[in-house]
């Protein structure tokens, strides 16, 4: 890594403290946004706008569900806060749990365990090992870590953690993913908050060091910047900030009060909601004290998203109803919002289907003049963008993180098949089917890109069909009066088409990614 990158990534960063004046500006913007939304709603819901009734209802549901989510996001921002830093007492007993599974690269653990050893605050690092590979034991012990042999336990990472809890006695446990390299001041930034006996876990920002290696990596990282800045800071203000399994520090008593770390595909979310239900508080410290890896190729990213989509729906259907009465109002709203995040996939799919229903079946959801729609929708859009850019001042590392994040949006759209699949699987209560990830460049594109290819082909086929039909078969008397509507629809559907091409590009690029491992060049000193 170049010197400049080194300075850029491996320095401590934290978000700014929000000032009251800034929050008032935010409130003004939000109010303006709300008024604009009401104006838009007033225009939207008119009888003469309704086209084919079932489609109109569907379109309205999707569109206004999106608006409602936006409103919830804004309300969340109102309580952006940063906790007052507290100096940790010197005598706390702290452990780091990091897990290893068969197939994970040894060199990565070298780097991580070395960094763990260099964390200033006195602690014990434990390697929860499942590899049956003696070299892992060597590496652990060479960096003063304790090696725990935890082979063949069910429940993946969480299972090992729960077993390790029984074998250890420290009061505070940092659950660290092996690809996350911690900074030496990690515990100095975290432990002080446990002074408050009610605090169950302290979450810090999740940041990356490999996002510039591919389009997918950059896009994936962009999707997280706002979350690990203003969003979690807002959630902290409402006492519902969530734990993220990559670098969360738990109080043992909190884990014990819920019967151990949660098990499942979204185990950190499960753990968080259970801890909240037991009336513990959670702290979010907007500091960068570790950096990890984001998926670099399209296939791995989709796999990860599918896992989370499936796991988050489990939380939505199982944990939220079960723990409803024990959660505060804001916690309920927050978990509902998170739990329904992946429904965006279904929504996007329905959205992109609309033009094809028009072209192939002549069904039109709404009779709206596009110019009029723009006039009413643009204020909402402008204010949303203004708020989106305004809150970026509270990102943990605004210099490198701020921007329009268009890559993130493209990738999010391109994942609609994955989100949709996750939702359907959870409805049917089925497990995720095994999909192999090709580590080396495979001949074809990732299987997750197949729906995108189908969509792109459908678009091209439809355009060809429309052109041929209008050239040769549409009656003369119809041509002029239907041209605006037809080409307007083509224009609308081309937006989704362009997004799909973006996704396909990400998948294509993933075939030829650099071979070397990202952690090889990391030099913390």
């Amino acid at each position: 890594m170049r010197k400049s990158d080194h300075r850029k990534f491996w320095s401590f960063r934290e978000a700014r403290r929000p000032r009251r004046r800034e929050k008032l500006i935010l409130l003004s913007l939000m109010l303006a946004g709300l008024i604009s939304m009401v104006r838009l709603a007033n225009w939207w819901f008119r009888e003469d706008h309704v086209g084919y009734v079932p489609l109109f209802i569907l379109l309205s549901l999707i569109f206004w569900w999106g608006m409602l989510r936006q409103l919830v996001v804004w309300i969340n921002y109102l309580r952006i806060s940063k906790p007052e830093k507290i100096q940790a007492p010197k005598t706390l007993r702290v452990a780091i749990f990091t897990t290893s599974s068969p197939g994970e690269p040894l060199s990565m653990f070298e780097k991580t365990l070395k960094a763990c050893a260099e964390i200033q605050y006195p602690h014990t690092t434990y390697l929860l090992d499942d590899t049956k590979d003696p070299r892992f034991r060597e590496v652990a012990e060479s960096h003063q870590a304790v090696w725990l042999n935890l082979v063949g336990l069910p429940g993946a990472k969480a299972g090992k953690i729960n077993a390790a809890l029984k074998l250890t006695s420290e009061d505070f446990i940092l659950v660290l993913d092996p690809d996350h390299i911690p900074f030496p001041n990690f515990f100095d930034e975290v432990l002080g908050y446990f002074n408050d006996e009610q605090v169950g876990y302290v979450q810090v920002s999740q940041a990356y060091y490999n996002q510039y290696r591919s389009f997918t990596a950059r896009a994936a990282a962009e999707q997280t910047y706002t979350f690990y800045g203003p969003t979690q800071m807002g959630m902290f203000g409402y006492n519902c900030s969530v734990a993220i399994g990559a670098n969360c520090t738990f109080r043992r008593k909190a884990l014990e009060s819920i019967g151990g770390h949660g098990i499942g595909l979204a185990e950190d979310l499960v753990t968080a909601i259970r801890i909240h239900s037991e009336k513990w508080k959670s702290v979010y410290a907007p500091v960068v004290v570790s950096r990890g890896l984001v998926p670099e190729d399209f296939g791995s990213f989709c796999k990860q998203q599918l896992k989370w989509a499936r796991g988050v729906h489990e939380v939505l259907f199982d944990e939220v109803p079960r723990l409803w009465s024990k959660l505060s109002l804001w916690q309920r709203l927050s978990y509902l919002t998170i739990g329904t995040y992946y429904i965006a996939g279904t929504a996007m799919m329905l959205f992109l289907l609309i033009p094809y229903l028009f072209f192939w079946f002549n069904l039109l959801p709404a009779q709206m003049y596009f110019a009029q729609f723009l006039m009413h929708w643009l204020p909402v859009a402008i204010i949303s963008v203004a708020i989106y850019l305004f809150i970026q001042r509270w990102m943990c590392d605004p210099q490198s993180e701020k921007g329009i994040h268009w890559r993130g949006m493209v990738l999010k759209f391109a994942c609609w098949p994955v989100f949709f699949l996750g939702f359907i699987l959870s409805l049917a209560n089925k497990k995720i089917p095994y999909i192999p990830t090709a580590k080396k460049a495979a001949k074809g594109l990732s299987p997750f890109s197949r729906p995108l290819m189908a969509h792109a082909s459908l678009f091209v086929a439809t355009v060809i069909y429309v052109v041929i039909h209008r050239l040769y078969y549409t009656p003369e008397a119809e041509i002029v009066l239907t041209s605006e509507r037809t080409w307007g629809m083509i224009g609308f559907s081309s937006i989704a088409f362009i997004m799909a091409i973006g996704g396909l590009y990400a998948a294509y690029e993933s075939r030829n990614l650099p071979e070397e491992d990202p952690w090889e060049k990391v030099d913390m000193i």
Binding site: A371, P379, I479, W487
Partner: protein, 389 residues
């Protein structure tokens, strides 16, 4: 001490709330204002884009297809592209109005096919107002032109759809606008609407036939009638409109002055030879559909007034020609009307069939004037059309 702290807190909260509300409202107001200011241009921009797309597509389609309707109406091109030929017609021009022409003109084509003919004139109706649908009907005019015909627009000065904010000087309450409405038009109160329409008509370029303020002497039908206005107000309004078109350089309009034959008073309402190109007369036989109507022949509806109308020495158009079937023999009505019409009424140079299936303008119930399914009547019309050729 505590009291002071409390009141400071309250003061802050009240002030903050007011400031925030004010700022929020200001932001919305600013956006709305910008929106309103740009909505006109934005709408125009979209319309322009739409028109360009349509033009491009149309050129391509024209080149691809054979035997288009405009190919078959080639003989009419020298008329429809020339205002002079259209104001001095040397042959009888047929046309039709069908109400189902929002999405396409297929219904007109269907009527034509039934009558084994191609109609050079296609009639549409367009109202005044602030809505997008009340501006110059560019797309419909384009469609008609591309099909090979000339657009015939009945332009109705209804005033209740105007947005008072955009028209200072008009009554804010739409119900107040009908009294002396023609005076208001002559006075220039609606000029900004006029100017936009004129600009669009001029841009369209090809000659169009416009029938403005029709049946102005009928005190029961339209707000621009004598129940709200004086005859001289009508003349003033007409002249104001036509002058405005000419002053702005829109010379492609053929003006059709269209009084109702039964209410007469023609000369009082006549704007003058240099303001009128055609005299248009509606000739609808309502049969016995209402208590005030009876079965009248074409000669009774029109023939009685022909001598007076012919004195204007302008070509005469039968702007709405049709009969209902109730109360008499419809096929014979058409036969009697059309047989020998050129000899009886040589001033008649155009007949526009009124082929509406849902006419709500006169009676409380909807009237169906269509003949397309009436085989006997269709036969009579076809025979008459052959004879007139």
């Amino acid at each position: 001490m505590a009291k002071k702290f409390l009141s400071n807190k309250i003061l802050f909260r009240v002030t903050a709330s007011i400031v925030v509300l004010f700022c929020g409202a200001m932001i919305v107001a600013a956006l709305t204002y910008t929106g309103k200011k740009t909505s006109g241009p934005v709408s125009d921009l979209f319309n322009q884009v739409g028109e360009t797309v349509s033009n491009v597509e149309n050129e391509v389609v024209e080149q691809t297809r054979q035997n288009t309707r405009s190919d078959e109406l080639k003989w009419f091109n020298e008329y429809r592209n020339s205002v002079h030929r259209m104001t001095h017609p040397d042959t009888l021009l047929w046309g039709a109005y069908d109400n189902k022409t929002e999405q396409s003109f297929n219904s007109v084509i269907a009527l034509e096919d039934t009558l084994h003919t191609k109609l050079p004139i296609i009639s549409i109706y367009s109202a005044w107002g602030s809505k997008s649908s009340e501006q110059f009907p560019v797309m419909k005019a384009k469609a008609i032109y591309d099909l090979g015909s000339i657009p015939f627009i009945t332009w109705e000065p209804w005033l209740n759809d105007f947005n008072a904010k955009d028209f200072p000087g008009i009554p804010a309450d739409p119900a107040q606008r009908d009294k002396d409405c023609l005076k208001a038009i002559a006075n220039g109160d609606y000029d900004s609407y006029l100017d936009k329409w004129i600009q669009q008509a001029k841009r369209f370029g090809a000659p169009i036939m416009v029938r403005f303020g029709h049946e102005m002497n009928d005190p029961y039908r339209y707000p621009w009638g004598p129940q709200n206005n004086q005859p001289q107000d009508f003349v003033a309004a007409w002249k104001h409109v036509v002058d405005r078109f000419r002053n702005k350089g829109a010379k492609n309009v053929i003006w059709i002055w269209s009084p109702h034959p039964a209410y007469q008073n023609f000369t009082e309402y006549y704007p003058g030879d240099d303001y009128v190109d055609w005299v248009g007369i509606p000739t609808l036989n309502y049969g016995t559909v209402a208590s005030w109507s009876q079965w009248w022949s074409f000669d009774e509806i029109f023939g009685n007034y022909y001598p007076v109308l012919a004195q204007f020495k302008k070509p005469i158009m039968l702007t709405e020609f049709a009969s209902l079937a109730v109360g008499g023999n419809r096929p014979m009505w058409y036969k009697n009307a059309l047989t020998g019409i050129q000899k009886k009424y040589p001033g008649v140079k155009s007949i526009v069939l009124f082929h509406s299936s849902e006419d709500n303008t006169t009676t409380y119930k909807s009237l169906n004037w269509q003949v397309i399914n009436d085989k006997t009547t269709v036969q009579k019309i076809i025979e008459a059309m052959q004879a007139i050729k």
